[in-house]
Amino acid sequence: MTPWTPDQPLVSIRNVHKSYGDIEVLKGISLDVMKGQVICIIGPSGSGKSTLIRCINALNDIQSGSILVEGQEVHDPKLDKLALRRKVGMVFQQYNLFPHKTALQNVMMAPIKVLKENRAEVEARARDLLKKVRLEGKENHYPGELSGGQQQRVAIARSLAMRPDVMLFDEVTAALDPETVKEVLVTIKDLAADGMTCILVTHEMGFAREVSDHVYFTDKGVIVEHGAPADFFGNAQDPRTRAFLDQVL
């Protein structure tokens, strides 16, 4: 296999099929994400967005097709899943912080345990990351003592502490109050501006339009339409896309 070079897609998804039992949830999905790109996946509930994004770091398996991350096949049975997950950060809708650890400890755990990095260095980096997500002063708070938006930003910092090459966000603002949505979106926008490759599932259309390089619309397990945000939001072709956009905009 030829080694991956940055001019090739960092994530390349080809004709992916995925079923739960007899029900096919992904029916041949293909998309590419270049290094530094931000893409958004939008679509109605149950269309398979979470399923797709979870396939990228092998939390879900697939029945056929191919997913390459930096040229490595994610669903090769011989693949080192742990090595893959060190490159792919993931942020969940429900934050999923470790409730028995402080914000700082949440961020520090994986680099120390997984990467076996020096504790003092990790701590310095963790403090910087918490500062970056605007949580200075909350280092020693437990998740239960933080608001939803604050917890979600800790989760983002926790993921970034592993220095991933690509970040997956699955409706990370869906569980938040409208006021706190913005603080999380600002954090993601900062990340994107720093050149982080991001794959976002979102219901925030304004945000998708502003931050993304490319938008994908999924429905019933297929990509119905995709394009640059200006085209996509201004000039959608498929009637299903238009119906969806009419509903949410």
Partner: protein, 251 residues
């Protein structure tokens, strides 16, 4: 001071024939009580530690990929939960004890490699361990799958996820039931009496066989001693629970 107390109980024994607190004024009997108490404490502590280790390892093995391992653990749990601990002690000591090698320190006496104390620790640890496995398993199952997934998506192995995330949370959930089981264990150590482990009950019976007049006081002593031991354990578990409490988490 001590002399006055001892004299008081010596006089009491003379005037009230059923209330001979012999171990207060007779050094030899006092010694029996203390060695018995010390043995009970040792039994309890060793069994506590081993049963908790069995619980943790067993609960982990129950989530293992190998169905053989899972079946073995399930069989063990069923066996030890559904048979009386006294019977288990007798089984270990008499049935298995025959097959264990012995050695001879002086060329005359044959000493089994595992003493009755050893068998009591093994048997009681397995007994309490079976309950601990179920207790920890319930705790582990109560840890949300999504929390585990978060750890895995950070590249942690199953073992790292288990030791750093699942177990600390499961322990907090399990602690109340664990306390109850460990208290039960401390109380059950006195069944080692049946295989002649010189613990507190064994020594007490020895005392009242020699001094029938000391039966009531010694019985009282037994009850108070167990109340004290269990009290210390539950205080300890209670403060551990408090120490592990996470600010802002749970109820």
């Amino acid at each position: 001071m001590i002399d006055t107390i001892q004299d008081f109980f010596r006089d009491l024994a003379a005037s009230a024939p059923h209330w001979n607190f012999v171990w207060i004024y007779d050094d030899h009997q006092m010694n029996r009580v203390l060695t018995g108490l010390w043995m009970t404490i040792k039994l309890s502590v060793f069994c506590l530690i081993f049963s908790v280790i069995i619980g943790i390892v067993g609960a982990w093995a129950q989530g293992a990929k190998s169905s053989l391992l899972r079946a073995a653990v399930a069989g063990y749990v069923q066996f030890f939960r559904n048979t009386p601990p006294l019977l288990q002690l007798l089984f270990f000591y008499f049935a298995l004890g025959q097959f264990t090698p012995s050695y001879s320190p002086d060329g005359w006496l044959e000493v089994p490699l595992i003493s009755s104390v050893g068998w009591a620790i093994i048997s009681l640890s397995f007994f309490a361990g079976a309950f601990n496995i179920e207790i920890f398993r319930a705790g582990i199952e109560a840890v949300p799958h999504s929390t585990r997934e978060a750890a895995e998506s950070l590249g942690m192995t199953r073992l790292q996820t288990y030791t750093n995330v699942v177990l600390p949370l499961a322990l907090r959930i399990s602690l109340p039931s664990l306390s109850a089981n460990l208290i039960n264990l401390v109380k059950t150590t006195n069944q080692a009496y049946a295989i002649a482990v010189p613990e507190l009950l064994y020594q007490s019976v020895a005392i009242w066989n020699d001094y029938p007049s000391a039966q009531n006081p010694t019985m009282l002593l037994l009850l108070v001693a167990y109340l004290g031991l269990v009290g210390i354990l539950s205080l300890g578990m209670g403060s551990w629970e408090k120490k592990l409490r996470i600010p802002g988490y749970g109820a």
